[in-house]
Every structure is written in structure tokens, then in C-alpha cells.
Amino acid sequence: MMKELYTETSQYRNWRFSKAKLLETREKNHTLAIERVKKKVLEESLLQKQILETSSPAYSEQTENVGSPRVNPSEIEYLTLEDELALCNFYETRIPPMANCFPKEVIENKLTDKVKATAITFVKRFYLRNTVMDYHPKEIIVTCLFLAAKVEHSFVAIEEFTKVVKLPKETIFELEVVVSKSLRYEYTVHHPYLASFGLFLDMQSFIKDNSKIKFLYEKSLELINKSLYTDCMFIYQPSQIALATLRIAARQDNFDLEKTYLRFKFKSDPKENVIELYKILDEIESIINSHVNTTVEQAKSIDARLHKCKNPEKNPNSAISKKRRREKEEREEIDRRKKKKLDDEYQKDISKIFD
């Protein structure tokens, strides 16, 4: 039995889940993340207490600008998995508006729908293995858009990029590596757009009304854009999503796609396969129809709670990261001194020769 080519794609091999497995993966990642952040928060609060107790003037100055909020670690209310997903969803929906802030010629030539879709996919894949408590999505979406433009062969220079988005380029570069690693360096994403175009062409062999086909195709593209915010990409194949969106478009238009097209298409396939396919098409349809994006108000309230339970280690002003930096500096200082001592001794040895 020969394989089909699509089974070799990284999308199929590593980014395809059953519904249950997807939930399990997310839950596992979430519980692990909370445990880790809890530990760091505790460490942070202990450090802050220490700083307060040592009332030496050098330290009291530092406590002034400890950036992380000082709260009792046992009182922190952590985000639930639903909160995290809702927040991610909100920021994913911000990607197209963000891309639309660019100059007109950049939008038309570079930041196409495909680039935006790839960026959204990257964000979704990234948060499959990361948490908003470590990396805030407002920075990740910018990085993902920048990366997606590169991946889809429509590179936008970083100078042009930072003119529009308010994020220093160092941050983007830094996060780019983090994101790439979480994506396991698997950048190629297969979207339903191409498949949808294929259906647009194929329908022409069965349906004579070209303007109708065009109408359905354009409608289905809109639905594909909407499907990006759902979990369809993790569960179904691009071709299945494309066909499902076409079916929704036809249904909304009271056009009988079944009689005019689908019936001829799958008449020679095994019956159980066709039944299964229709089941999947129905599933995708219900997922897309029932999906509601997070509103600004919801996102704001989650964001406010997120502010209290961020991982202090990622905050450059927190006591814990200060301590880490200090430790690093001390280590470097020791190394430096050691080296200097060796150098000095060597110099001494040399000068002794001439004594």
C-alpha cells in the first residue's frame, strides 16, 4: 500500500490531533505551566520579603522599582485553561487588523490572507506548548506575523515592521527564536485556500453557472478565514475544511450542492468512507457556526487577572530575575578574576626571569 503525499507533511505528522488528544495536550500543558509559575511566584515573594527585611540603604532603593506586583502567593487566582484559550483567541483576531495598519502596497503584495492565516496558525501552535503566563500574546502575535511573512516568501523588513507595530526589534528577534523552537522549526503550513480554489475549478465541470460558483467560492473563503480561529486546523485536513466551508456557503445561499456536485464526485468511493466524510463535514460546520470570538471586555478582564499571575522570571524588573542576573554577573566576575590572577602570575613569572 503506497502512502499518500500529504502524510509526509509535518502538519499531518506532528500537528494533527483527535479532539480528545488536543484537549488532553492542552490540559497537561496548562497544569504543568501553573505548577511551574506557582513555584516561581513563591520564590519571588520570599526574595521580596528578604529584601524588605534587610533594611540596608542599597536594597531599600531597589525595592522601589520591583516591577512585579507584591501579593500573597496563596491568594493568586490563576487563569483557567478556558481563560487562556479565550485570551489567545482574542489576540489571534487582532492579527488581521494589525496587518491592515501597514501601508497599502505592503498589504496588497506582502501581508496576504495566506500570511495572516499562517501567523494565526503559528500563534495557535505556539500556545499548544506554552502559556500566556510566560509569554504575553500581544508580543507573540507580532512575532508570528513577522515570521509568517518570511515563511510565506513575502518578507517585510524589520524597520518597516517596527514602524507600524510598537515593539522594539530586539524583542521580536528574541521571541522569534523562542517561537521557532516551539514550532519545532516546522514552518510550512497547509491552508484550505488552495484546496478551495481547486474546488472552484472542479465545480466548473459539473455546474454551468460560473457566477454562482464564483459567489460560493468567495463566500467559502470568508468562512475559511473564520475557521482559522477554531481548532479545525488541528483536527481536520485542509481539503476537508475547504469542502465543508463550500457546503456551508451553498446552504446559506439555498443552493443544492449535493444534487449538483457532491453526488457525482463521490459516487465511486466506498460507502462507509463517504458517510464518514459527511460526518466530518457536519462536524466542521457545527464548529464554525457555533464559534464565537472573545470580546474586548472579556479579554480585558482576563488580561487584568493575567497581570497578577505572570511568571515573575520573565519580568526583567522582578526580584527573581534580578537575582538571576546578579548570580550570573557574580559567576562572570569570579571567572574574570580567576583569569586575571592567572595572567598576573604569568606576568610575574616572566618578569622574574629578568630579576
Binding site: L5, T7, K19, F197, G198, Y236, E276
Partner: protein, 324 residues
Amino acid sequence: MTSRLTGTKTPNGKGFQDPDEECPVCRNTRYLTPNMRLLVSECYHKMCQSCIDRLFANGATECPIPGCKKTLRKISFVEPTFEDLSVEKEVRIRKRLASQFNKRREDFNSPKEYNDYLEMVEQLVWNLNNDIDPERTKARIESFALENKEIIAKNARKQSEEEEWASRVQDNERKKKQKNFEEYTNKLAEEKKAKEAHKAEVIELLANSTESAKLILKKRGIARERSNIRSQDSIDNDNGGIGELWIGLDKVSQEEETQEFDPIASEYMDIDHYTLKDKYYDTYLPSLSQIMRAGGYNPRFTYERSLQSAFSGIFSFTKSEESL
């Protein structure tokens, strides 16, 4: 034992040879021609290099040993590893079979099946070694190789991976040892230097100071002891493990990484469900310009790719147990 002690080294330096050895074809002994090379044929008969050159100068002929009718070629002669040819034969048979019969314990569901498999391999080795029923044995080996093609390839890959891993471990260990040794010698040199400096200091003090010699020696002695201890506490606690070699790669990707691409096994199923037309109603693709045509572009390529994409994986259903 005596033959070993008085024996000469083989040309390739692998072992010792019996000085009384003789070539069964020309009866030439090692005593007379010390640099005689005895090689072994496919049918496990020994003969010397000059006999081989003489007999097989005109291509393949029958084995010169009476009773053996095997057709041999010059190229099929090899230097034996073992003096005892029955051992040589069995080792070679096992080596040959091992490349095919490389199933592992984890490929079987129960210990019994595994044991049965091992038993079968032993039986095959025995048959081959004693020339029992050679045709059927050969057929059995071939049918096994054909049936288990995939497992054999997989295990072969696994084995080479393990070998690589082992060599890496070894390499690391060697490097670590070397590092430790260097550190140790450095430390020794430092200590020696420190001792000398201390001695010079004491002598200088003894010469210039007005204090009593005993007191000076006592004071210096304590300081010296302290410095000795201090120099010892810098034992670095690196866990120089092999783990760091694989950083960033989890278990899954590690396996992927080492999967080789096999061009022969990589033929793919055709995508059907569509027929490509010559002309489509299309307002989306840019019109065919001269530059595009010069580059060999034809909109048909895009059409075909789109159509393939529309139907590839359309019947792929992710079941909960097979997903990642």
C-alpha cells in the same frame, strides 16, 4: 601453546600462525616459505596465495580439494580470522544471518514467541553449518527476509543508531577523562609552584626577621595548610553528561531526525477524483505575461496543484488512538 609462542605474526598483524602449517594443494609449508598466506574459500578450504593465483588465473574453476565441486573465483577468498575453520564458518554464517534475522524482544508479544524465533534461528544456523537440507533452509531464509522486510530495515536503522550513540558516549567519556587528567596535572604543577614560593618566603623571613625561628615556622605552617585546603575545594561538579548532546530534541523528533529518506520506498499514491480541463473560468490568477511564459510557467500547473490539494487527504480520518 608452543606453536603460538613460536609462531610468526600474520602479515596484517591479526594473530599468530602455526609454523608447521602447510598448503593442502601444493604441500608447501610455512617453514620453507615464511611469508606464505593461507586464505579461505567459500567452501571453507584453505590454500595458499600462490596456488590461488595459479589455479584461478583464467577465471572461475572448481575447488581443487578432492570431493568438493564448488565453483570458485579468486575474489571469493578471504583471510580467516580464526585458526579453526569450523569456528570461522559458524561465525560467518551467524554474521550473515544476523543481518536478516535482527528481530528484537520488543517485536514479539510474548517471551514464548521470542524464544520460538531464537530457536528457529539456531536451527537455521545448525542446518547451514552442517549442510543439512540446504535448499529448504535457503528458501526459509529468503521467505523470512521477504516477509519481514520492514522490520529488518527498521531494526538495522535502530542498530546503527545505537552504535552511533555508543560511540558518542565513548567519545564523551574519553574527552572527560582527558579533561580530568589535564586538570590534575595543572593542579600538581600549581601546588609545586606554591610550595616553592612558600619555601622561599620562609627562608627570606628567617633571614630578615627578628622573631624566633620556631615561631615563624609555626605561623607559616598554619597559613600553608589553609591554602592547601583552599586549593582543594575547587573540584568542579559538572555532570558532563551525554544528555546535553541531545538538548532541544524530545524523544519523537530524535527518532525522526535519524529516519533516512528512502527514494525507492517513497512512491506516493496518485490523487484522483478530478480531471484537469484545458480551460477554466478564472478571474483570480494573473494573466499569463511574457516573462512568466519564458520561465516555463503555465496556469495549468497551478490548476493541477489546486485540484490535487482539493482532494488530497479528503478521506483521512483522525482516530483518537492513532493521533500523536
